[in-house]
Structure formats: structure tokens, C-alpha cells
Symmetry: D2
Subunit: 96 residues, 4 copies
């Protein structure tokens, strides 16, 4: 994995933003768990909440991806790890 040997790490502001959003994702998951404890919970309401959490996770993925493109992928040619960076990214982008 390219990152470890090149000391490539996730940028601090993207890290804080991701942390904040993931905490709200966790709260949202707890909310769905509470829904499931209610006797008359309706399936479609649960489906809508699951989708909302997935949307929030998409946004976490988006901000981490942006930081990665900006800090690591756009400098790959200078570092000499183009092939590795491209294949790694193609793998993680599959079925996002």
C-alpha cells in the first residue's frame, strides 16, 4: 500500500471533518436502532433512514477522496508511484 512507505497521511482538516460527520453517522445509526424497538415501525421508514446514513457516508468518503487526490494522487508522478496510486484508486472507486 503506497501510503505507508511514503508517509502519506490524511490531511488534518479533512480528518476533523470526517470525524465530525462519522460521529453524526453513529448517532443516526442509534436512531434507526431506536426505530426498530418501536412496535409499529414501518419498513419504508427504516429504508429511508438507512439511505440517509449511506448518503452521509458518501460525503465522508467524498471529503477523504478529495484530500487524497489533492495531496497524493496529483503528485504521484513526481514521487514515482503513478501505477500504484492509479490502481489503488481504481480499486477503491469500484462501486462507490
Amino acid at each position: 500500500m503506497a501510503g505507508c512507505c511514503h508517509r502519506l497521511r490524511l490531511d488534518d482538516s479533512a480528518r476533523d471533518d470526517a470525524r465530525q460527520r462519522l460521529r453524526s453517522v453513529r448517532g443516526h445509526v442509534d436512531g434507526i436502532l431506536r426505530m426498530l424497538d418501536q412496535e409499529d415501525t414501518y419498513c419504508v421508514d427504516v429504508l429511508k433512514q438507512v439511505k440517509a446514513v449511506q448518503g452521509a457516508l458518501d460525503r465522508v468518503g467524498g471529503l477523504v477522496l478529495r484530500a487524497h487526490l489533492r495531496d497524493h494522487v496529483t503528485t504521484a508522478n513526481e514521487r514515482g508511484d503513478v501505477e500504484e496510486m492509479v490502481e489503488e484508486l481504481m480499486e477503491v472507486l469500484k462501486y462507490r
Copy 2:
């Protein structure tokens, strides 16, 4: 929303299965939060974990959807709420 007036509710076994999976999703989100606390966390590792959580949520959505189709959609014609059930489902399925 069709469910509330018709007393349509999520089936118990799907409910338990969803509960269990959501608890593991929450644990997984905590794992990503711990990753973000590590100084040298690499972006692509975070992206992979976010995708894994989304996959787990897909499976939660899948089992709730299956219960909903089986228990509520396939009997809509007899209940007389075909149009409502179809539109509600089309909305929640939009680009799952």
C-alpha cells in the same frame, strides 16, 4: 405514508437481523473514528472502511426491503393501495 393507517409493520425476524447488523455497523464506525485518531492514517484505508460500512448498510436495507416486498407489496392489490405502495417504493429505491 401507507404503513401507518394500514398497521403495516416490519416483520420481527427482519427486525432482529437488522438490529444485529446495525450494531455491528456502529462498531465499525467507531473503528474508523479510532483510525482517524492515528497520526499516520492513510486516506485509502479510510475510504475502504467507509465502503465496507456502506456494504453492511446495503445488506440491512436489503433484508428490510425483502420483508417489505413479501409482507406488504405483494398484497397491495388485495388491500387496494397499489398506486401508493408502488410510488413509495420507487421513491425509496431511487438509485439505492
Copy 3:
């Protein structure tokens, strides 16, 4: 496959709508092929066109799905093929 023995067929108006949209998809694909013949075609422009065609196909899928839900899935309980209809639909919905 449930459809063949039960004489379940795609409704005419959905069929016409799908036909029309698919013809425009074909024209759109031809447009991308022409783009590829231009010497200085830029990758991102091709990617945008491919995504536009996928969006159009999503809409074709959406209108066929709606017709299927309305005409076949909501009457499955009366026909007695609930399990088959649900599993068939879950399969085709996976990663739409």
C-alpha cells in the same frame, strides 16, 4: 422465471416509453463514438457523456420497474408466486 408461465408481460405504454428512450440512448452512444474520433477529445468529457447515458438507462429501468411492481408484484399474493416474485426482484435490484 415467473413471467413466462404466468403470461406476465410488460405493459404497452411502458414498452413504448422504454423504446423511445432506448432509441435516444443509441443516438447518445453514437455521439460518444464520434467524440472518440476527434483527435483532441478530453477524457472527462467522455466520462460525462458515459454518465449521461447511464442516467438515461436508469430512467428506462425505472419505468419498466414501476410497470412490473404495479402489474405483477402487487398481485403476487393472489397469483400465489410471492416467494418467486420477491427473490426475482431482489436479484435484479442488486446494485442497480
Copy 4:
């Protein structure tokens, strides 16, 4: 758009591969059109074919994306258009 002023263009081998796949996509779309002309065509069969075409388009998108990452994004820092390249890519990747 970054590409035009910097003379960034889609690499020839990716271009040929994309061309070939798009021709087979067109043939596949024609196949679905023929399906729609058959009186007893079943909805789920049409849905499966639409999904197959979308999968083929995913692969066209994937090979163009790979060429773009390798030829243009990984050299953005040296060219000085990092911000533009990253935003352009984030836009086109949005829920691929």
C-alpha cells in the same frame, strides 16, 4: 475545462478499447429494442438487459478514468492545475 487549454487528450489505446466496447453497447441496446418488439417480453428480462448495458458502460468509464488518472491527474502538480483537476474529477465521480 482543464483539458482544452493544456492539450490533454484521451490516450489512443484507451480510445480504441472504449470505441470497441461502445459498439458492443450499441448492439446490446438494439437487442433490448428487439426484445420490446416481442409480444410477451417480461419486465424482469428487460431490467436484466438494461443492467448488463450499464455494467458495460461502467467498464468504458473505468478504462477512460484509468487513462485520465495516469496521464493527467498524477501530473497535475507539475502542470500547476491541481485544484482544477481535483474539482473536475470529484464532479464526474459523484455517485458513478
